[in-house]
């Protein structure tokens, strides 16, 4: 997974072609940390079918807010730089995988 932050978000996500999945998380968000290993597994499993990014919102708060993300965990999907779907609140990896399959 590609670590994105305020310096490379534009390049890696907003200017990217095709499907990009971004995992918004922060070190103080326990559900996010619980989810993370399965998100990484998912990225491995669907390698090449989408681009997978991880965004630590701590230190990138303004960036998250610009992406209208104000709640964790959030998994957002972008296509050609436009946000097309988002899962937030009680995020289960099964739901993320289903969404990914629908969009890829």
């Amino acid at each position: 997974m590609i670590e994105v932050n305020k310096n490379n978000f534009e390049e890696e996500v907003l200017k990217a072609d095709g499907l990009v999945m971004v995992d918004f998380w922060s070190p103080s968000c326990e559900p996010c940390k619980e989810l993370m290993p399965s998100v990484h597994q998912l990225a491995e499993k669907y390698k090449g079918q989408a681009k997978f990014c991880s965004l630590d919102t701590a230190g990138n708060r303004r960036l998250s807010i610009s992406q209208k993300v104000l709640g964790l965990p959030t998994i957002a999907f972008y296509r050609d730089g436009d946000k097309i779907a988002e899962i937030t609140g009680e995020v289960a990896i099964e739901d993320v995988e289903a969404k990914l399959n629908e969009l890829k």
């Binding site: 559900p31 807010i65 609140g89």
Partner: protein, 408 residues
């Protein structure tokens, strides 16, 4: 047969974890099926200071990790998957998960927990993850230097509000009661009242959440005057109680009007071999310690159920000779005499017929299963099948007749 679990636990909060610890420690083949992250609601709070033995400074995630490690150390399997379908009647219960696995279980412990109640206020759903939150530990740091409100005034609301003051500039608590009245415990109330970052709006409810992509303001209604006030705000945290996660169980086990599972003291539901524990059942106090207590009781009850079922199989259902099962009760004298007669009759008839005595007082489940409505009763089984039933008094001739009718 080895792929049949003794206990399948649905839900990995404190109720499920405790059942896992007790189940696997009794060497029962035990699995916990858990949707998403481990630990349930208890893992969503940073301040969990009332679980016995774990004092100040304990966090929910820490405690729940310790419970998970504890359960696994005794051999509990923990699988991340959501149960989407249940078939609970019958000897072997089937649980289907989202990933398509089917788990077979001799007993099932439902530890489904609860989820935050939503008030269905205008804007609440639309701004979920956009400033509306139900989890302070998840989202608090977004609100550094910003202003938030908390809706609710029970233990969770007031304790989470205090946690939020470590991040937010101000935390305004909207309280439906008159000034000074809170539903939370006195210790928390005093601490919150003394916290300079906490502000209070009394006699009021939230009417609407507004914004453009993200939350920008809320409309608060004073329930005494009816007056509406709009307040600029960045975040809205709801802690207004919970609702049981029992949608899945409708039509399967008995629920009360609010959807809580009805159980007895042994955590038994309306279905034999199916138990419910923790926040999802009807009970007085919904806390980590009571969920853990329920889990222990259910696992022990399940263990006893398994032993009794196994015993009935070995002594009655799997026996090749015909077996008379006599239902008696120590307080019914007629039944004691009838049993004595039956014993004599069996002794005379010889070794090709067996007798099993059931104390109805101690084994209500068999009484219900075989609809035994009179004591004494004698039921004739052969190769696992119920062949005939004598209720009330019976004579040696009756027994001979039944045997003849059955062709023995």
């Amino acid at each position: 047969m080895s792929d049949i679990y003794d206990i399948v636990i649905v839900g990995g909060g404190p109720g499920g974890m405790s059942a896992g610890i007790y189940g696997s420690r009794s060497r029962l083949k035990t699995v916990i099926l858990q949707k998403g992250r481990l630990g349930g609601q208890a893992a969503t709070t940073e301040e969990l200071e009332n679980y016995p033995g774990f004092g100040r400074g304990t966090t929910g995630p820490e405690l729940m990790q310790a419970m998970a490690d504890h359960a696994e150390s005794f051999g509990t399997e923990i699988v991340r998957d959501e149960v989407v379908d249940l078939s609970l009647n019958g000897d072997v219960k089937l649980l289907t998960t989202k990933s398509g696995q089917v788990y077979k279980a001799k007993t099932v412990i439902l530890a489904l927990g609860a989820e935050p109640r939503s008030l269905n206020i205008r804007g609440e759903n639309k701004f979920r993850g956009k400033g509306v939150s139900y989890c302070a530990t998840c989202d608090a740091d977004f609100f550094e230097e910003l202003d938030v409100i908390v809706v609710g005034n029970g233990d969770a609301a007031v304790e989470e509000a205090m946690y939020l003051t470590k991040f937010a500039e101000t935390v305004t608590i909207i309280v439906i009661h008159d000034e000074g009245i809170l539903d939370c415990n006195q210790a928390s109330a005093e601490k919150a009242m003394a916290n300079p970052k906490i502000k209070w709006v009394w006699s009021s409810v939230l009417q609407e959440v507004k914004g453009d992509g993200l939350v920008e303001s809320v409309v608060i209604k004073n329930i005494k005057t009816g007056e509406l006030t709009e307040m600029q705000i960045n975040g809205v945290f709801f802690f207004v109680g919970t609702v049981p996660k029992t949608e899945l169980l409708k039509g399967q086990v008995d629920l009360d009007e609010q959807g809580y599972v009805i159980t007895n003291e042994q955590m038994e539901t309306s279905v034999a071999g199916v138990y419910a524990v923790g926040d999802c059942r009807v009970k007085y106090l919904r806390q980590v310690v009571t969920a853990a207590s329920d889990g222990a009781i259910a696992a022990v009850a399940a263990d006893k159920y398994l032993a009794e079922e196994e015993d009935f199989k070995v002594r009655v259902l799997n026996v090749k000779e015909p077996v008379w099962v006599a239902f008696w009760a120590p307080q019914v004298e007629a039944s004691i005499n009838a049993i004595a007669d039956l014993e004599q009759w069996v002794a005379k008839t010889g070794t090709n017929v067996k007798l099993v005595k059931i104390d109805t007082y101690r084994n209500q489940r068999l009484v219900e299963r075989y609809a035994v409505d009179e004591i004494p009763s004698a039921l004739l089984f052969h190769k696992g099948e119920l062949i005939s039933k004598l209720s009330g008094s019976f004579s040696p001739e009756d027994l001979d007749n039944q045997m003849n009718l059955a062709g023995f």
